[in-house]
């Protein structure tokens, strides 16, 4: 009887979905709240304070260099990874979209592989190559940067190619017909059209680099190249204070700010160009 009433099963599903959302986000909200704890406990909230952010003269993120250093490392790593990866990836996406032939197919296959390779496999491979082959590359930050770029390139290519397929060749052809040479058509027509995809890439690469634990950890040489996820891992189960939660929260704020900014810019670009497309979201979902 009740199963034939429309909306009834949907209500049950809605409940499950809300419960899921609660389950997926509430623990993190509690962790953020603990970062504002005035006491040392990481499980019981006493009263709100900025103690673990900057007021504690020794143990706050601002004053404790063993917390500040990973924050600096993570942000530097993510920013540089983003700036180097995105141009390489955009060029590769345009190239692969139009390049024909066997080599192109092989390159496309090669590009997709990092997306499905478990991180530990890539981490071990990079660890061994830097200890056995490219031994002149200084280990630590430099190798971490090279590693992060390696696993980020494919994300950019997939995102940008999705947009390229949606744009089609006609705008560039029109520009060529109107007398632009190939470089001009690409710079003045194609790149602006790719704007939203480029911004999406920037934020995906930034967030991916900030989030990475395995590659950073395999290529690290110790405290000087420790990143925030590594710091959480190494001291989260030891005698950490809520300052660790504060560190994680600061990182989250940076990521969300970057994502929010990129989303805003993308929205404005898309409004100016007219016509939204769901390709972006679909791609980001596929990329994960």
């Amino acid at each position: 009887m009740s199963r034939n009433r429309p909306g009834q099963p949907a209500r049950g599903l809605a409940l499950v979905t809300w419960l899921y959302v609660l389950w997926s986000l509430l623990p993190v909200l509690i962790a953020i709240r603990i970062s504002f704890n005035s006491g040392k406990s990481r499980s019981t909230f006493q009263s709100p304070s900025w103690r673990w952010y900057f007021t504690d003269p020794l143990q706050s993120v601002w004053h404790d260099d063993s917390l500040r250093q990973p924050l600096r490392n993570s942000l530097k790593l993510a920013a540089l990874t983003m700036l180097i990866t995105v141009p390489i990836g955009v060029a590769m996406a345009i190239g692969l979209q139009r390049w024909r032939g066997k080599l192109s197919k092989a390159s496309n296959g090669l590009m997709l592989f990092p997306l499905v390779t478990p991180e530990i496999v890539m981490g071990v491979a990079l660890f061994l190559v830097f200890t056995q082959v490219y031994t002149s590359v200084p280990r630590g930050f430099t190798t971490q940067l090279l590693g992060h770029i390696t696993f980020s390139i494919s994300y950019v290519v997939v995102i940008v190619r999705g947009r390229l397929a949606a744009i089609g060749p006609q705008y560039e052809e029109a520009a060529r017909d109107l007398g632009a040479n190939r470089m001009q058509a690409m710079r003045l027509v194609l790149l602006p059209l790719l704007g939203p995809a480029i911004f999406a890439s920037l934020m995906v690469v930034f967030a991916g680099s900030i989030d990475d634990f395995v590659i950073s950890s395999f290529l690290s040489t110790g405290a000087s190249s420790e990143t925030v996820p590594m710091k959480i891992y190494s001291s989260g189960r030891a005698t950490a204070t809520p300052a660790l939660n504060a560190l994680a929260t600061i990182m989250l704020v940076f990521t969300l700010a970057a994502v929010g900014l990129a989303a805003l810019v993308m929205r404005r670009m898309r409004m100016r160009q007219g016509g939204g497309d769901d390709v972006q979201l679909g791609n980001m979902a596929a990329v994960g």
Partner: protein, 306 residues
Amino acid sequence: MANAAGAAPGGHRNAFWGFLSLPGVAWLAALFVVPFYAVAAVAFGKIDPILRTADPVWNPAQWDFSAMNRVIDRVLDPNDLGKTFLRTFAYVGGALALCCLIGYPVAYFVARHAGPKRGLFLALLVLPFWISYLMRMLAWVNLLQPDGYVNRIIGWLHLPGEHNWLNGDWPAVVLGLTYGYIPFFILPLYAALERLDKRLIEAGRDLGASPSRVFRHVTLPLSVPGLLAASVITVLPMFGDYYTNGFLTSGSPRTEMIGNQIEFYLRGTSQPQTGASLVLILSAMLLVLMAYYLVVTVRAQRAVAT
């Protein structure tokens, strides 16, 4: 003449596009292909007799498979590494089952019944992606402390089962894996369910089938490709995971997975050969899944391109 003039720039143009992708291709060759080859060179290479460090052999003709054979024997021995492999399969299987159980209804609801709230739900589903994985695990460490909220709620409700969750038991690991990877499961599944042909479902209803029959005989079979793709993309990283259990159980040997062994042999000891061999075995095991995902992706690329 016109033909020749047309052909030459065409070839030129193709070379230009190849040139554009060159930096990326070269990068991946140097830092993805070569490193993978280095793993093989170490696994099939020699060990320095004095320093006990890896002495990679680059020429495949001189590869020595005895170390690999020893590792394979250990993997097949249920009292040795075999136990770790079985445990990994059990954990990943359990986490995947939970992902399906929780993730399918959520993805289904947001894709088909969320109505005007869909944008909001999508944003909420995407949000975990922007929260660092280890921060999400840290959140659970806070909750599961002996005096944490989970035990307090259990005590408050007078339920049995109040104990130290982080002592190295499997439930923490399976729940941790599920919690960690379920966003990666839901989003691709959502994308697949959203594209599902509504007319087929309506046809089932029009032909007199009850909603549950339509679900079992139309919707569910149609979601199989999406479920498979989502499962593959979730399971691949789970198999290589070593930090979820490392973090939630402080590296208890009772919850050790394949990834922990790999990390242990490569960094904790002077047996890089064993570690490299395990990486190759793991990759070989996952190759079918990786190939499946690559084929699906290439097909989707073609569908978009045409």
